[in-house]
């Protein structure tokens, strides 16, 4: 493969789609370029569970013929995409990252996959994830996903493969699913862009549930423009999801005006200055907030004192929903679960109804505090994660105390779960690198249906920082 092919692979979906439309790029050559990159790098990175090479090349040939005939299929004509293996794909293995579903072949597409295909995109494959999108997997049944910036480090989860594939340019664009940070965390660890839309903005039909009350499908891409492009295609009402919003879908790319002028941004001090926040993360996020101020935003501190409770409240609600969903399999096939997943679900099954109800009330209180801040600010700003990607070994070590359990399972989640508990949109965009070369993610959070605002600010920062031009050592 030539360096020109690598440049093309890293160009991203919006640029590639423009080239296809101008007939300067062949969909067949583009699919071949990604299949070659997957062959070169994915033996180590393990982003993919299934690669649909043959069908993708056939679709690409059809897209090429259609292009020659002037038959425009849609805004992603001939563009290869991949999705988290939590999303149903007709006739293609869909495992949810679990051995329990090793033979599950859905008969239909999830709504989001159907919408991308209807826009002309080509399914390149299915992406690795932590088991059932729950996080904490010790042994991945389909291979250990690895961070392209340092393969000894975690790529984040649960949309691990989507983060890797976006950052290492193993396909044009990807979709993940974010319940408590599962799109934003891999975006942060892998140096990609990850958007959690407003709850209800995107249909959940055909998405294996992690926690119905917070699950939301979102794009994981190399650029903010690609995230805006994909969101515009997958968002919108769906008769197959009773909780999908009927709000009209705006032109998200039109929001990318290149500045932050007039935006009021609140920096969440509990997360920026929190005891768990790594020094280099704090420094990079403060630098980004200054950058946004230089781009025209009014930036000041804001306190959300309930945020330290968010991780535990989220896990009580998410895990109890998941434990209820998995009750039968847990009873009948417990040995087929990864030990980390099984321990998480069994623990949730032991929490009392009283505690779950308190957590549900805690969610409402945390949400109101966040929404109150969002009445005063257009955006809230925080680190996506308190630390850069940790070594993979830290996930597989046994938990030896309740204090360690709280730190390992609740503390990190308090950074991403406030947006999940509030049902509001949030994005992670790269904002720097540690001295060891690991990416750092900046999180921006907006009001319900505030995706244009969050995309606008993230795009302005992205253009200023130019970090998406950096390429990982593996990929």
């Amino acid at each position: 493969m030539s360096s020109a092919d690598d440049d093309l692979a890293f160009a991203g979906a919006a640029r590639q789609a423009a080239l296809v439309r101008e007939k300067r790029l062949s969909p067949v050559e583009l699919v071949r370029a990604y299949l070659e990159r997957i062959e070169r790098f994915d033996g180590q990175l393990r982003a993919f569970i299934t690669v649909c090479g043959k069908s993708a090349l056939e679709e690409a040939a059809r897209a090429e013929t259609a292009a020659h005939e002037g038959n425009w299929l849609g805004p992603l004509h001939g563009i290869p995409f991949a999705v988290k293996d939590q999303l149903d794909t007709a006739g293609v293995l869909t495992t949810s990252g679990s051995a329990l579903l090793r033979a599950n072949i859905p008969s239909g597409d999830s709504t989001v996959v159907a919408r991308l295909k209807a826009a002309g995109a080509i399914l390149l494959g299915k992406l690795n994830l932590t088991e059932f999108a729950l996080g904490g997997t010790i042994r991945f049944p389909y291979g250990q996903p690895r961070n392209p910036w340092n393969p000894e480090h975690d790529p984040g989860g649960s949309s691990s493969g989507a983060g890797i594939a976006a950052a290492a340019a193993l396909c044009s664009a990807t979709l993940g699913e974010d319940t408590g940070g599962s799109v934003r965390s891999p975006a942060s660890y892998c140096g990609a862009v990850g958007l959690r839309p407003t709850w209800g903005r995107v249909s959940r039909h055909g998405c294996f549930p992690a926690a119905w009350s917070m699950d939301q499908v979102g794009p994981l891409t190399r650029t903010v423009e690609d995230a805006a492009l994909l969101l515009g295609i997958i968002a919108g009402w769906d008769s197959k999801d009773s909780l999908a919003s009927r709000e009209p879908v705006p032109d998200y790319r039109a929001a990318l005006v290149g500045n932050a002028r007039g935006l009021r941004i609140g920096v969440i001090i509990e997360l920026v200055d929190g005891a768990d926040t790594h020094t280099e993360v704090r420094s990079a996020v403060i630098q980004a907030s200054r950058g946004l101020a230089a781009l025209g935003a009014a930036v000041e501190d804001v306190s959300l004192p309930l945020i330290p409770h968010a991780g535990a409240v989220f896990m009580a609600l998410c895990d109890s929903e998941a434990a209820g969903y998995h009750k039968r399999w847990l009873a009948e096939r417990p040995e087929e679960y990864d030990a980390g997943t099984r321990r998480r679900l069994v623990t949730a099954g032991l929490i009392s109804g009283f505690s779950i109800h308190q957590a549900a009330r805690g969610r409402a209180l945390i949400r109101e505090q966040a929404l109150d801040a969002l009445r005063r600010f257009d955006l809230l700003l925080a680190p996506t994660s308190p630390h850069p990607a940790p070594p993979i070994a830290t996930h597989t070590a046994p938990v030896t105390s309740k204090e360690e359990a709280a730190k390992r399972f609740f503390a990190r989640r308090s950074y991403t779960t406030p947006a999940s508990l509030a049902g509001v949109p949030a994005i992670s965009v790269p904002c720097g690198f540690t001295a060891a070369g690991l990416p750092i993610g900046l999180q921006l959070i907006a009001r319900p249906m505030g995706e244009p605002t969050v995309l606008r600010a993230a795009h302005a920062w992205e253009q200023e920082a130019a970090l998406s031009r950096k390429r990982p050592p593996v990929g």
Binding site: T198, W199, G200, S213, M214, S242, L243, S245, L306, H309, G311, A312, V313, M315, A316, L330, A331, P334, A339, R342, R343, R344, V346, T347, G349, L350, I351, S355, H357, Q358, A359, A360, R361, G362, R363, A364, L365, R367, L371, P398, V399, T400, S401, K402, E403, E404, A405, A406, F409, F410, G423, V424, P448, M449
Partner: protein, 61 residues
């Protein structure tokens, strides 16, 4: 609140027909005790008048 011991957790799991192996019991005990501490801390918040909506009605449907 006193921590639950592994034998308490074994008994609870058995009574709820939840699978708990010897390999899992220590971690499940630590996780459950962490939950009990974290959720007990919510008792100090003004929760009595809070309605536990999973989302704001106008933000979802």
């Amino acid at each position: 609140m006193a921590d639950l011991a592994p034998e308490h957790v074994r008994h609870l799991a058995a009574s709820l027909s939840l699978p708990l192996t010897d390999d899992d019991v220590a971690e499940v005990t630590h996780r459950l005790n962490a939950f009990l501490d974290a959720l007990a801390a919510l008792d100090m918040l003004p929760l009595q008048s809070v309605e536990p909506w999973p989302t704001r009605p106008e933000a979802g449907a």
